[in-house]
């Protein structure tokens, strides 16, 4: 599939999902990795009049629902995930997600003061992936006060889903961590 076809197909998928009947033409500003999408999306939504609060939420008054959906369409269409990562994951990616979970996510959460019970074995993790995926964030406990701020900070720090570059074999977990801390 050419880049042009990928862009057209992905933007059409967003229009369908967000129920945008006559989607405007949107030029891609940048192709990004999966772990970058949240930040560029928030920045873009702020530029469209929907700023993200410190807890990761966007206030959407009832009468702003349609403009909100349109802004989402424009922002998701402006920053597409790199085409080489835009594939449905297979068994190999589930195994990499397991490594990501035990080598990066759980240590990251524990360094942040969370206690995460013993994770499932690799075989159990893979077996359960389609029906009941294991996410250590299910065990995260944060105080009621500033709950959203604390939760969002953990989500940004301890990225739950392996980034595309790791998932699709472009770099190891260690290389990704090293690159991130640069």
């Amino acid at each position: 599939m050419s880049v042009e076809e990928y862009v057209a197909e992905t933007q059409a998928s967003w229009a369908t999902y967000l129920k945008i009947e006559n989607p405007p033409a949107v030029e891609v500003i940048r192709f990004v990795d999966t772990d970058e999408v949240t930040l560029v999306f928030r920045e873009c939504m702020g530029e469209k009049g929907f700023p993200t609060d410190p807890g990761g939420g966007i206030n959407v008054p009832l009468e702003q629902q349609e403009p909100f959906e349109l802004a989402q369409y424009i922002c998701r269409s402006s920053y597409l995930v790199k085409q080489e990562y835009a594939k449905a994951p297979g068994p190999e990616q589930v195994a990499i997600q397991y490594d990501w979970t035990v080598q990066f996510v759980i240590p990251c959460l524990e360094e942040s003061g969370q206690h995460i019970p013993e994770p499932p074995s690799r075989a159990e993790f893979i077996d359960q992936w389609d029906s009941a995926p294991y996410w250590p964030f299910k065990h995260v406990v944060v105080a009621n006060e500033n709950f959203n701020e604390q939760w969002d900070a953990l989500e940004l720090k301890c990225v739950q889903s392996a980034p595309g570059a790791v998932l699709w074999g472009e770099m190891t977990i260690d290389e990704w961590v090293a690159q991130r801390s640069m």
């Binding site: 992905t10 998928s13 967003w14 369908t16 999902y17 967000l18 129920k19 999966t34 772990d35 999408v37 949240t38 999306f41 609060d53 807890g55 990761g56 939420g57 966007i58 206030n59 959407v60 008054p61 009832l62 629902q65 909100f68 959906e69 989402q72 998701r76 597409l80 995930v81 085409q83 990562y85 835009a86 594939k87 449905a88 994951p89 992936w129 389609d130 029906s131 009941a132 995926p133 996410w135 250590p136 964030f137 299910k138 995260v140 009621n144 709950f147 959203n148 939760w151 989500e155 990225v159 739950q160 889903s161 595309g164 998932l167």
Partner: protein, 103 residues
């Protein structure tokens, strides 16, 4: 009777809007009422399923309140600044579990 109809229509319209996007591969919604000292919390567990990461999104919303969106699959949770209301979770991935609670 007229008032009842207006309330019903408003509720129906609200749920329709809240459930948007209706084409979500996974969605669930309902009404939640909490005690005076509590707020609605929504949590969900999602997976990419068969979709590409380029078109993944999961959103939590309480009508007329804050909307939380995540761009990758996972276990996500947020507390909403509402004591009661229509809530919804929608995703174009796979929704494995999700719901609202009072916390």
């Amino acid at each position: 009777m007229k008032n009842t109809l207006v309330v019903f229509c408003a509720t129906f319209l609200s749920i329709g809007l809240l459930a948007s996007p209706a084409s979500a591969a996974g969605s669930t919604s309902g009404w939640k009422e909490c005690g005076a000292n509590q707020r609605i919390a929504i949590s969900s567990s999602t997976a990419l399923g068969g979709v590409s990461s380029s078109i993944f999104s999961v959103g939590h919303q309480v009508l007329g309140g804050n909307n939380f969106n995540w761009t990758t699959a996972g276990f996500h949770k947020a507390k909403h600044n509402k004591i009661q209301g229509n809530w919804a979770i929608s995703t174009n991935g796979t929704l494995n579990s999700g719901g609202a609670s009072c916390e």
